[in-house]
Amino acid sequence: MRVSPILKSWFWAWVSRRAPRAASVRLRHKSIYVLPTAQGWGFLLVIALLWVLGTNYENNLILGATFLLLSLMVVSVVHAFRNLSGLTLSVVRTHPAFAGEFAEFDVLLEAAPGSRHDALRLGWDRLLMIEADVPAGAQRSVALSHKARRRGWLVPERLRIQSVYPLGFFRAWSWVQLDGAALVYPAPRPTDLSPQSRISHDEGTELSRENQEEFQGFRVYQAGSPLAHVAWKHYAREQGMHLKDYSGYQSEQVWLDWDALPGLDQESRLSRLCYWAVAYGKTSAQFGLRLPGQTVAQGGGTAHQRAVLKALAVYGLPEATAQGSGRNG
C-alpha cells in the first residue's frame, strides 16, 4: 500500500501525540488501536454461510446461533482491547552492544489492577517479537532485542505491542515510546597495528622488561584487587591481607592512542581502538585512552573498560544524542 510521505508523517505525529515518550507508559484507550484480522474476516464468512443456511431452512435455531456468533465477534473487540488496556511498560535496564549486534532492553510489564494480559507480543521488529503472559496483579520482565546499527546511544523508536487474544478475530496493538537508551560501542575491527603510543612504551620500560614477573614487595590489600595477587601465606599467618607486587604489571601500562593509527578515517580508528580496548580488557593490563580533546586515564577492571568503550561509543557525536534520550519527547 503506497501512502504519501506527508500523510505518513502526519499519521506518525498523530500517534506520537497520543502516546508521548515516557519512562513508564500505561496503555490507555487513547493509544490502543483495534482492527480485524484475516481470521476475523474468515469468521464473518462462516457467519454469512450460517445465515444463508438458517434463512433458507427457516430455522430459527440456526439463525440464533448465527446471531450469537456475530455478537461474539462484537464482544471480542472489547476483549481484544481489554487485553492491552491498563498494561504498564517501562524499561528497567539496558545492555550495551557492539554496532552490528543486538542491544537488549529489559522491559517490565505490569498488569492492570484485576486483569490479566494473555499472549502479548512485543518488539521493535516484526520478526523479533517476544511473547509474554502477565497474570493478574503480577509483573513480568522481558528481554527485547533491538538491532544496533551505529555506535552511540541507541534510542529505540516506537515499540509495538500487540495481541489477538482471546479469539483471534481482532488485533489490538499500541505503539509505545519508552525512555531508556542502550549504549552501542563501535564494531570492533581486528588489526595488527598496535594503537599503543610511544609515550606509554617509554614509561613501561623503566623497570626490567626481560623479567616481567619479578617480585617487588608487598602492598596492603585494597578491595577490588585481583585475588590471584593476594599473599595467602601471610593471610594464613594472620599477618593481614597483603598483595604481592610484581614489577611486570607496571610494564603493561599502555595507552590506546588515536594518533597511533594514522591514515584512517574516524570510524575505522574508533573500531580499531575498540578492538584493542576489548582485547586489553581481557588481560590485567592497565590501559588508558587518548582521543583528540579527551583522555581516559589508565586503569583496569570492567568498570574502566566500560568507561573506555563508552568514550569510544559517543566520541564526536552531538551532545543531545550523546546524552541519550532527553526529555524531548
Binding site: F43, T55, E58, N59, A65, S71, L72, P166
Partner: protein, 675 residues
Amino acid sequence: MADREQVSRAALAWLLAAQVIILLPHSVHAPLWLWAVWLWVVLWRWQIFRGAWGFPSLVLRVGMMAVLGGGLLLSYGVKFDMTAMVGLLLAGFVLKLLELKGRRDLLVTIYLGYFVAATQFLFHLGPLAGLYGSLSLIALTATLVAANQSLLSHRFWPSFRQASILLAQAVPLMLVLFLAVPRTGALWSVPSDERAAMTGISNSMSPGDIGALAQSNALAFRVTFDEGAVPPPEDRYWRGLVFSYFDGRQWRPSRRQEAPELANWDRASTAQWRKLLDPVGSPVSYSVMLEPTGQRWLFALPAPTDWDDALGIGHEMRLLRREPVQQRMAYQVTSHTDYRFQAGGLANWEREQELQLPQDFNPQTRARARQWAQEAGSEQMLINRLLAHYRAHFRYTLRPQTLGRNTVDDFLWQSQEGFCEHFASSFVFFMRAAGIPARVVVGYLGATQNPVEDYWSVRQRDAHAWAEVWLRGRGWVRFDPTAAVAPERVEGGLDSSLSSTDAQMLERGFGANLALVQRLQLRWDAFNYQWHRWVLGYDQDQQSQFLEDWLGGDELWRIALAVMSAGAMLVLGLLLSILWRQRPQYAYPADRQWARVERKLKRAGWTRQPGETPRSLAHRLGRSSPSLGRTLAHIAQLYELVSYADNRSALAELRAEASGFRPPKRSLSGANEYL
C-alpha cells in the same frame, strides 16, 4: 510468525472434546461407523503427537476421502440432499484432524466445526437441543481461545471459562439481532427432506391405519382459543382430509379433490362455490401451532370462515397450504361451528363423486342398503336405523379381527368390531349404496387442556375418522358412527372409551399414573409450547408485530438504528466495566486526594518529577508561582497530617482543598522549572 504456527496441546484437547460434543446429536442420521472412523483418526492423531507415526500422505488422504465418500453413498443412497451434505461435512470435520499441522489448519477445522455444530439444529429443534447447541458453541469457542492462548500456558479449563464469559456477554446483542434482523424468507427453495418420517394422518385410509396412529402419543398440534371461547366437546372435530373415492379397500381423495388448481387461494374471493357456505351463530377464533406433517393440508374446526393470508381453501371447506408443512407452523382461523353448506343442492359432477362405489365389492351391503332404503320413510330414518344397528351389535376396539376382501360386508354383518375407520368407512359405503351422497372425513377429535398454560393439545391418539352425509335442504351434515358405539369417545377421549386391555396398547408418557410426574410433564409440555411458539415460531408476521410494538414500525432504518444502538450500548457497557475494574487503587485515603491534585496540576501543565514529595514539589513550583506554592504547601501539610499522623479531621479538609484546587495555567516563560 513462525513460532505461532504450532498447535498447543490445550487447543488439540479442546478440539477433540468439541468433536465428540458436535458429532453426538448427528448420530440420528449419520452412520454408526463414522464413530469408528473418528476413533481411528484420534488414535492416529495421538500417534502423531507421540511422534510414532507421521502425517498421512496426500495419496492416502485422497484415498481415505474416497472410501469415506463411498461409505456415505452406501449409507445415504445416491440422492444428494441436506442430510447427505451434512454427512459429508461430518466426514470432512473428522478427517481434518489428520492434516492438522499448524495454526491455520486448526482454525479451518474450528470454523468448519461451527458450521457442523449449527447443522444439528436441522435435526433437533426442542429446548434441550438449544441448550445442547450452546454447549457445542462453548466447546468450539474454548478451542478457539486455546488456539490463541500463548504457547507458554497449557491451561485447559481457563479457556472454557473465558469462552463461557464471552458467549454470555454476547447473548443480549444476540437477542436484539434475533428479534430485529429482518427475516427474508427462503432465498431459494431447498429440497425438503423426505427421509424424516413424520407420524400423522396420511393421504389415504385403509382399515387399521388410524388404529395404528392412535397408539402414538406424539403431538399433532396445539390450539389457543381467543378469549377463552372454547367450543363444547361434541364440536371439537378437527377436519383435515376428505375422502370421496373408494377402491374397495382404501379411501382416497378423488382426483378432483387433489387438484391444487381447484383450491381457492384468495381469502376474499367471490367464487360461486364459496358462497354456498352459510354460517350460522357466533364464530370461534383460535390459533393452531401445527407440528410438521410433510403434507399440504391443515386442520380446522368446520367451517372455516376466515384464515391467514398464505392459506387456501379446498372445495370441501378444508384449509390448504401450497408447500408441505416441513416445520412447525402457526396459523389463525375463525370458524362457525354451526353452518349450512351446499344446502341448495349438489352439482352433477359432485353428486356423482359422492355416490361413487367400486363395482363387485361388498354385494351384501349393497343389497341390504337398497332394502333398508325402501323400508325407511326418509333419509334420516335410514340413518337412524343404521346407527341403531351399530349401537346394538358393535364393539369398539383397537384390535379388530382381520377383514377379508369385502371389508364392509365382513365388518357390518360378521366381525362387528373395529375402530373409527371401520365405522366411518362402512357408514359411508352404506349411505352411498342407499343412494345418499356421503364421504369420509379424517382429522382429530378432541383436545386436552394444559392447565399450566392456556392452550389445548391434540395428539396423534386423537386421530379420528367420521362421515359427512348430504341431506336435501340441510346440506352436508356430520355423522359420527363411532359415537353410536362409544359415546365416551367424543366426551372423554380415547382412554375412557376403550376396554382396559385395549387401553394398555396406548402409548403414554412415562409415569402417567404419578401425579407429580404428570404435573412435571405438563409443565415441561407448557414450556415446550412456549419455546415453539416464541422461539421456533418467531416468523415474519410475529416480527413485524414486534417491531411495530417496540420500534413503531419495521422500516430498515429503524431496525438498523436499534441494532446499532444495542451494539454500541453493549460495547460501551463492557468498556466502562473494564475501566472501572482497572481504576487505580489507593491504599490510603490521602493518596487518592493527592492523585486528584496531581491530575489537576498535570492538566494545567505542571508535572511532578520522579521522587519528588508533595512538599518539595510545592517548594519548586513556588519559585515559578508563589501563590500556587503556598496553596500546595498547605495541601502537602494536610497530606502529611493525614498520612503520617492519622489525623481524621485533616482528611475532610484535604478533601475540600483537593476538590477546590484550581492551579493557574503554566505559562511558557516558566519553562525553566526543570532547572
